[in-house]
Structures are given as structure tokens and as C-alpha cells.
């Protein structure tokens, strides 16, 4: 991959989700907050999984570019903190999960 | 025969609050009003005994300000109208702190008024005072609070008196410029603490929080206090406030650096919405 002159350090992350809906949710939830440092840029997309059907965009892809490795590390770590929360909310509080739990609470 | 001022005062009709700035609701306040026309309420602290002695004009409560009450009365002779400013004890405050504050403020206020007079800045004269009892008798200023004057300008747009309000704002800036010039900080600049007298002259009143200082920082804070009070009291005249600062800098030569400092003070104020 070609490196930007000002932003030599780059990293592309791919996070696969069970379906395109969840990948899109993660993208929308995470891309709103601006990167705090002007020394880091990033780009969010959803893409199809390698070898998967091309119309199933269930992978969240983020391309990071930074001026230093240190800045890159800080930004990516912070991304993972947010991602972990998004995943936990998906696992525990998606509509079907909550309904399941509420039903169980009523019957049990 | 003396009458109980608090009894007399509760019969007064409540005056319009500043929040009722709509033309329909606000009534012109009495020309007798000397400062913020808050509805006076019953007072748990009567006036000091000496002021309850016979008088041709027994003290009539005009306003219950935050730290003082203002009465209209006469001093020495029936033909000398005066404003009696009384700082009653604040029972909610620690007694030591309370007496320290009341004495210090009455003293500072009188000294500042004297200095203003000697330097030719028009303010009410002090006729007499008693710092242990916490009262002072000051010259009665006829006219209306500038707040009322501004609002009546704002509420009569058809009168086409844009020049009226501009002239008023200019006078405010000049009055503060003259005050700062002689090294005095008002400490509580609001449009309720300025009177427009019958000669259409703006007179600063209520120097209860005034102090002597030559520092640009203190002057800038003084202006910032006014700016904020102005914005919240006259939101519809917000854009015109620049005229006050313009006239200020014209009257007071060192005013330019004060205005620069004002920018800093504003920034600090904005930061207040941050944690810590």
C-alpha cells in the first residue's frame, strides 16, 4: 500500500460481523466521534468478507494513517475500547436478546 | 407617629419582573423607583432603632436587594429626600462572617462614593452613616432604572427611537469609563444599578460591592459582569452591547487594554462548562 508522505504509519483493521446490519450499526456508532489528534486520519467502510458473497457487507473496515507509530497505537487502542462496548451492547441488548430475557423473566 | 415600613410596603403593587419583557405585560415603573423594582416582602429585621424615630417621611421600603434594603425617607430636614440603605444581619450566614462583611461593605461603599464625588464622577452623595448598625443615608436620585428605560425603548419599536437606545448605551459606556479612570470598580454592574435622571444623565448607583483597583483584570471582570447581566436581562438588545464597550474605550484611554483582557475573561467564563 502506498504511504502518504505526512502519514507514514498505517493500519487497516477488518472486523467481521454475523451480518451486514450489525456491521453497519458498529460503523455508525463508532465513526461519529472525531479522531482527537490531527496527526491521525481514518476511514470507515463496510466491505464484503474475502471469499464471501460480494453483496454481504458484513465486515467493518477501518483504515488508519498516522504521523507516528505511537499516535497510531493510541488511536487504534481507543477504537478497540469503543468496539468492545459496541459488541457487548449487541450481544446483551439487541432487540431479540432483550425480548428473550424479558420473556424468560415473566415465565420463570 | 411612625409607621411600620414593612406593613406599608407590602401594600405596594408588585412591579413587573424583568422576565416579563413582552410589551403587553410590562408596565412602566414608577418614576419614584430608585433601583431594581423587586416586589418588597415582609422583613424579619426591622430598621435600626434610630431610623424608626419620628420623621416627616417614615422610611418606605422600595426594594429588598440581595444584601441590603433600600428605603425612601428624608434626612435631617423634611425637604431633603434620601435613600436609606440598610444591610440587615443575614441570619443564615455565620455571625462572624456576617458582621465582617456588613461592616466592610458599608465602609467600602461610603469611601468609594466619596472618592467618586471628589473626582467628579456623578454618584449619589452620602449624607450620613453608621457602620456598626449597617445603614447609610444617601442622596435620592430621581428618575428610572436604565433597565426600564432600555426595555421601554425595546418595546416601542414603532417610535423609531433607535438613536435613543444607542445614546443610552453610549452613556453607560462613558459612565463606566469615567469610573474606571479614577480607579474604581463597581463590582455589580447591571442595568438595574444605573439610573436615568430627569436630565437624561446616566448615574451609577448601588456601590455595595465596589472596590478600588487600577488593574485591567478587575476592570475587565467589571465589564464582563455587566455584559452577562445585560445579555440575560435584555436578550433582544444583545447585538447593541458593543456600543457600551466602544464608548468605554473612547472615554477611558487605557480602555483598549481592558477590552483585550475582557476577551480572556470571556474565554475563562466559557470554560466553566468544562469539568474541573
Amino acid at each position: 500500500m502506498a504511504t502518504d508522505t505526512g502519514f507514514p504509519c498505517s493500519l487497516t483493521l477488518q472486523v467481521p460481523f454475523p451480518n451486514a446490519r450489525l456491521a453497519s450499526v458498529a460503523l455508525q456508532a463508532l465513526r461519529v466521534d472525531k479522531e482527537l489528534s490531527s496527526l491521525v486520519t481514518r476511514h470507515f467502510t463496510t466491505v464484503a468478507a474475502a471469499g464471501g458473497p460480494s453483496d454481504l457487507q458484513n465486515v467493518l473496515q477501518i483504515e488508519y494513517k498516522a504521523t507516528t507509530n505511537r499516535m497510531l497505537r493510541v488511536a487504534v487502542n481507543s477504537f478497540f475500547d469503543g468496539l468492545a462496548l459496541v459488541l457487548e451492547v449487541m450481544e446483551e441488548l439487541d432487540v431479540d436478546v432483550v425480548e428473550e430475557r424479558q420473556k424468560a423473566a415473566k415465565t420463570g | 407617629m411612625t409607621t411600620n415600613p414593612s406593613q406599608t410596603s407590602t401594600k405596594r403593587p408588585p412591579s413587573p419582573s424583568i422576565l416579563n419583557t413582552s410589551p403587553k405585560k410590562s408596565k412602566p415603573s414608577s418614576p419614584q423607583t430608585m433601583t431594581a423594582d423587586t416586589p418588597p416582602t415582609a422583613s424579619s429585621f426591622p430598621l435600626p432603632k434610630i431610623l424608626t424615630n419620628p420623621s416627616s417621611t417614615p422610611p418606605l421600603l422600595i426594594t429588598q436587594g440581595a444584601e441590603s434594603r433600600l428605603y425612601k425617607s428624608t434626612y435631617l430636614t423634611p425637604s431633603t429626600p434620601c435613600a436609606l440603605k440598610y444591610r440587615p444581619p443575614k441570619p443564615w450566614r455565620h455571625a462572624t462572617l456576617d458582621s465582617r462583611l456588613r461592616k466592610a461593605r458599608t465602609t467600602a461603599e461610603a469611601k468609594v462614593l466619596e472618592k467618586c464625588h471628589r473626582q467628579g464622577v456623578p454618584v449619589p452623595a452620602v449624607y450620613g452613616m453608621d457602620i456598626t448598625q449597617g445603614w447609610m443615608a444617601i442622596e435620592w436620585i430621581d428618575g428610572i432604572p436604565v433597565r426600564v428605560a432600555i426595555n421601554s425603548h425595546l418595546n416601542n419599536p414603532q417610535q423609531n427611537d433607535e438613536s435613543g437606545i444607542k445614546n443610552l448605551l453610549k452613556q453607560i459606556g462613558e459612565a463606566i469609563g469615567n469610573l474606571h479612570k479614577i480607579g474604581i470598580i463597581h463590582g455589580d454592574l447591571t442595568t438595574s444599578n444605573m439610573m436615568l435622571n430627569p436630565e437624561n444623565q446616566v448615574i451609577l448607583i448601588d456601590f455595595g460591592l465596589a472596590a478600588q483597583s487600577q488593574s485591567d483584570e478587575d476592570r475587565a471582570v467589571d465589564l464582563y459582569v455587566l455584559e452577562r447581566a445585560f445579555m440575560s436581562t435584555h436578550p433582544r438588545a444583545e447585538k447593541e452591547f458593543g456600543l457600551v464597550l466602544e464608548a468605554y474605550a473612547q472615554t477611558f484611554k487605557k480602555g483598549k487594554s481592558v477590552l483585550t483582557k475582557l476577551e480572556d475573561v470571556r474565554m475563562r467564563g466559557r470554560k466553566k462548562s468544562m469539568i474541573g
Binding site: - | N53, P78, K111, R118, Y127, G128, T132, M136, E139
Partner: protein, 197 residues
């Protein structure tokens, strides 16, 4: 009778304040001597009229003294000497006596002030007694205690010095003499009010 009963706002109803103005007084030394020897017959404030500019000026000093007395905060032996101190913008008592009190040979215009606590029904007798005593002992010509007469007696250069009114910018602003005098009176009252602060 040239003795006037002064009516002052907010003075307790139990108090009577009498005052008289004399000109061409010739026995100021005797009068001062009575005060210095604390002669109980001479409980008066004897003021030098040349240091007083108006009735308001006088009334302010009397009221301040009575207020101080009712607060039990007298700085001088009694309410009469307190009137003299009240006229001063400083706390220096002997200076106040020198400047506003009766001074041997110098005092020609004299204001005598008598403050008494008495019942209303005795008022007439009291006034009569006071005047009899005063007219008997003050050698001078009684004249009305009016602003006009006081004005004539005022020694302005002295008053301006005592109240630090020289070189005060505000006074140059006023062309009108009455307004100027009112300004000076305000400054004098303020000087007295903030005494020692």
C-alpha cells in the same frame, strides 16, 4: 427669644435640641473656660460659626452625635462635645475642638447647641431656662440661625482647608454658585460621614 428649637428627622422624641447664633461675641475665652472646667451649668456645644457653612451642616453634626450617643459609642465626654467631634473629617479630638469649638479671642460668631432629654410638658420651661442662661452668659448679639446669617459668618478658606476642598476637580465644574455650594456641602457631609474610615 432667639433660641430656636431644632427639629431634626429621626431624633428620638425624648430629645430636645435648642440652638442659637450670636455675632460679635466678646467672651469666647470665658465660655471655653467653662467647658474646660466641666462646669455643669455649661452643658453646651459652643461652635465657631466661621467653620460652619449651613443649617444642614450643623444638623448633620448634631444628628451624628445623638446617634452615637444612642449607640453608647461616644468618643468624647458627652453628646455636646460629640457634636464638635462630629464636625471633623478626622478622629483627632483636640484638633476638632480647636477647629470647630469655641476658641478664645478668635471666635466671634458662635453657635450654642443644647441637647436635653425632657418630657413634652416641661418643654416650654426648659427652653426658657436655656435661653435665660445663654443670654445671661454669652456676650454677643443674638441673630436668627438662618442659612443667610450662617453664610455671612463662614470663613471659606478655612472651611476648604479643614475639609480638604482645595484642588478638588468637581468644584471647578460648577459655574453656578448655589450648585457649587451644594457640592461642597455634600463633600463636607461625606467627609463627616466617613470620619476615620
Amino acid at each position: 427669644m432667639a433660641l430656636e428649637r431644632l427639629s431634626i428627622e429621626n431624633v428620638p422624641s425624648t430629645h430636645r435640641v435648642y440652638a442659637a447664633l450670636f455675632r460679635d461675641v466678646s467672651n469666647s475665652a470665658f465660655l471655653q473656660e467653662q467647658l474646660l472646667s466641666r462646669n455643669p451649668e455649661f452643658e453646651y456645644a459652643f461652635l465657631d460659626a466661621s467653620s460652619i457653612i449651613s443649617r444642614i451642616h450643623l444638623l448633620a453634626a448634631i444628628f451624628n452625635a445623638i446617634n452615637t450617643q444612642t449607640n453608647d459609642a461616644l468618643k468624647t465626654p458627652n453628646v455636646h462635645s460629640e457634636v464638635v467631634l462630629s464636625l471633623s473629617p478626622s478622629n483627632n479630638i483636640s484638633e476638632a475642638y480647636r477647629r470647630w469649638g469655641v476658641t478664645p479671642d478668635k471666635t466671634k460668631g458662635l453657635i450654642a447647641v443644647k441637647i436635653v432629654v425632657t418630657a413634652e410638658e416641661e418643654e416650654e420651661i426648659t427652653a426658657k431656662k436655656v435661653w435665660e442662661h445663654l443670654s445671661q452668659h454669652v456676650q454677643g448679639t443674638p441673630i436668627p440661625l438662618s442659612d443667610e446669617e450662617l453664610s455671612k459668618a463662614t470663613d471659606w478658606p478655612k472651611v476648604k482647608k479643614y475639609y480638604k476642598l482645595n484642588g478638588v476637580p468637581v468644584l471647578d465644574k460648577f459655574k453656578d454658585e448655589d450648585l457649587k455650594k451644594k457640592q461642597m456641602q455634600n463633600l463636607i457631609l461625606m467627609g463627616m460621614a466617613v470620619r476615620g474610615l
